[in-house]
């Protein structure tokens, strides 16, 4: 991972949803971060914190309300040129949470995986298309024979492998994994995480890994952004966030994770997050130590330390 090689630059991203005539839901508000090539950037937070909205705004499943997103020198926010649109749609891919809901039950695996190729016409002959799908199936740990089956014939872990194959066949450089392992069993989660890490190494991929399961996020991520109420409240290297959290929200989130260790569980104390006196709009990005940022004011910081 090279620190200077920024692959994705999100500046001041906002996504507001209109609720009725007057209400506005600021699902994502003033979110800025950079992702470096080859790293895994983890986004954590409770449901409703806006982490999924960030992911979807980046890949343009939502139109951001405001803000600028630069992906490999292409501006992919606001009005896009045909060229940047094409680039975005091939080089950035997404893996979804529920592999059953995200695979078309009426298509066989071959057609599901090849859909991206079909849309962008990335093959010359039928045979070439099949070959590409077969090789992709093998990469994700399935086999050729699976290509002519339908999603319901697979287990949850296998379906998620199909989802990964569908994303990888476009030869992306950037993958957004939105709760990609949350619906899977513990032992299968480990398989999928190992697979994702292996592919990342082989193909120099960059991941945004969105999840609420903090133990997996800390395992897979190089850097982590902690989201609350539409804002990133703390961001830094995975170790720093876990070992020296600053923001009280991060602290309360970490204190709530149960550890698979009975001795530790007997002494674990949960802290509640009290938002009184903390106004995210007044907060600024403060760099505590190198690459470790907190949203807050100088006064608050003294209180938190």
């Amino acid at each position: 991972m090279e620190k200077n090689d920024v692959i994705l630059d999100v500046k001041n991203l906002k996504k507001h949803f209109k609720l009725g005539r007057k209400g506005v839901l600021k699902a994502v508000d003033k979110v800025s971060f950079k992702v470096y090539r080859g790293e895994t950037f983890g986004l954590v937070g409770e449901s409703g914190s806006g982490k999924t909205t960030v992911g979807r705004s980046i890949i343009r499943l939502y139109n951001p309300t405001d803000g600028e997103i630069i992906f490999e020198n292409f501006k992919i926010s606001g009005k896009m040129t045909h060229e940047s649109e094409n680039y975005l749609h091939t080089k950035m891919q997404m893996i979804f949470q529920d592999p059953m809901a995200s695979l078309n039950p009426r298509k066989n695996v071959m057609d599901i995986i090849a859909q991206g190729l079909d849309i962008h016409k990335l093959y010359n002959t039928k045979k070439e298309r099949a070959e590409k799908v077969y090789s992709m199936l093998e990469i994700v740990g399935l086999c050729k024979e699976h290509a002519h089956r339908y999603p319901h014939e697979f287990s949850g872990g296998q379906r998620q492998r199909i989802g990964i194959a569908r994303a990888l066949i476009m030869e992306p450089t950037f993958i957004i994994a939105d709760e990609a392992i949350s619906a899977l069993d513990v032992s299968i989660q480990a398989q999928i995480v190992n697979l994702m890490k292996k592919i990342q190494k082989e193909r120099n991929l960059t991941y945004i890994f969105i999840a609420h399961d903090l133990s997996m996020v800390k395992f897979i991520s190089d850097r982590i952004g902690v989201m609350h109420a539409g804002r990133i409240v703390e961001m830094g290297n995975a170790e720093d966030i876990y070992l020296h959290p600053i923001h009280p929200y991060t602290k309360s989130l970490l204190s709530a994770i149960p550890h698979p260790n009975p001795i530790y569980e007997k002494i674990r104390k949960r802290t509640n997050y009290d938002k009184t006196g903390i106004d995210y709009d007044l907060g600024k990005w403060l760099e505590i130590e190198k690459d470790h940022f907190v949203l807050g004011t100088e006064d608050l910081l003294k209180k938190w330390a």
Binding site: V186, I188, I220, A238, P260, P262
Partner: protein
């Protein structure tokens, strides 16, 4: 210790288009009075089916082939519908994973709690209302007067689960079955609900069967643990025995596949393959094909339980006298040492 519930040699199968699925293949356990007994396992291992048998709410295509569930001298599997209704909710009650689907969206939460008080305990309406408000307060819902009149959609997920707990406790049950009660909730809410359950257990002397796949939660709540795999219990023991001295290779795999800060950058230990298809349960040990330590006999014959201590049993041939000495994977050994050694002080 006094047993409040005994399950012996339970066998359950489901009729499907493709044949009979043998979902539970010989499960034995007993629940001690006042304890929390956790059943862990992956989806399809039979943990929820076990709970449903105890509650008598097995779906129509399910059949109890063999076995007994003894509660207060009665075999619950033999009772008719009328007799079951007396026990269900009153003596044994259950909370489910998704609080939204277990509440009726068209009724106020007050009414839904009221309902079971009037049904089971012959409360007058006015007394019942007071009791409902008391219950809402017990499960930590603020402004019970206001909440009483609200509908489920007006409450957050955590609040809804509290309401479900209030309903399940309305008739002073002796046993509470909690089937993944926090899986659908956020971590912060999850720990609140777990604290609530633990708190209530002390207050009203409950015995709890806690079903989950999350080993972190198990470490927190359980007194004893049973690990289930492919319709069988493969190991059971006290919480410390399971976490610090596991004997079954499946338990090893489960514990080792939970990530830890220290193994960052390394490959996560994972169990290969997938669980067996219970339409055609294997002849030998169901875990054998995924087990890197499997012996030849594992494919031929199902292992019996081997006793490790008075409270700790595991069903694996590795514990047989003639089996080669096998150690748990080194990564797990290291982890256990770390877990026991330091109390994570300053490490968190």
């Amino acid at each position: 210790m006094e047993n409040i519930l005994e399950v012996s040699n339970l066998n359950v199968s489901f009729k499907t288009h493709n044949g009979k699925i043998k979902a539970i293949r010989g499960v034995d356990f007993e629940l001690h009075k006042g304890e929390t007994f956790a059943i862990v396992g992956e989806s399809g291992s039979g943990k929820s089916v076990t709970a449903k048998v105890i509650m008598g709410i097995l779906s129509k295509n399910g059949n109890i082939d063999k076995g007994k569930v003894i509660y207060k001298g009665n075999d619950l599997t033999k009772l008719n519908k009328k007799e079951l209704v007396k026990i269900r909710g009153k003596e044994i009650s259950m909370i489910f994973q998704d609080p939204m689907t277990s509440l009726n969206p068209t009724l106020t939460i007050g009414y839904q709690i009221l309902e079971c008080l009037i049904e089971h305990q012959n409360f007058k309406k006015r007394e019942a209302k007071l009791k409902v408000l008391e219950l809402l307060e017990l499960v930590g819902i603020d402004q019970p007067q206001k909440r009483y009149k609200q509908y489920p959609h007006q409450l957050s997920g955590g609040m809804r689960q509290r309401v479900v707990i209030a309903i399940s406790l309305a008739c002073n049950p002796k046993i509470l079955i909690a089937d993944e009660p926090t899986t659908a909730l956020d971590v912060t809410i999850q720990s609140q609900i777990i604290e609530l359950i633990k708190d209530l257990q002390i207050k009203i002397d409950l015995s709890i069967i806690f079903i989950t796949h999350d080993l972190g939660i198990v470490a927190n709540v359980a007194d004893r643990i049973a690990v289930m795999y492919a319709g069988k219990i493969v190991e059971y023991g006290t919480t410390d025995e399971i976490f610090y001295d596991p004997k079954h290779p499946y338990t090893w795999g489960l514990l080792a596949s939970v990530p830890d800060m220290d193994d960052r950058g390394q490959e996560l230990y994972s169990i290969n393959g997938t669980p067996p298809n219970l339409l055609y349960p294997p002849k030998g040990d169901a875990f054998a094909v995924r087990n890197e330590f499997a012996l030849n006999i594992d494919l031929e014959e199902q292992p019996p339980f081997f006793k490790i201590s008075d409270t700790h049993f595991a069903a694996t041939w590795l514990l047989h006298d003639e089996a080669p000495k096998t150690e748990k994977p080194s990564s797990l050994q290291k982890r256990i040492q770390v877990m026991k050694g330091e109390e994570y002080n300053g490490k968190k």
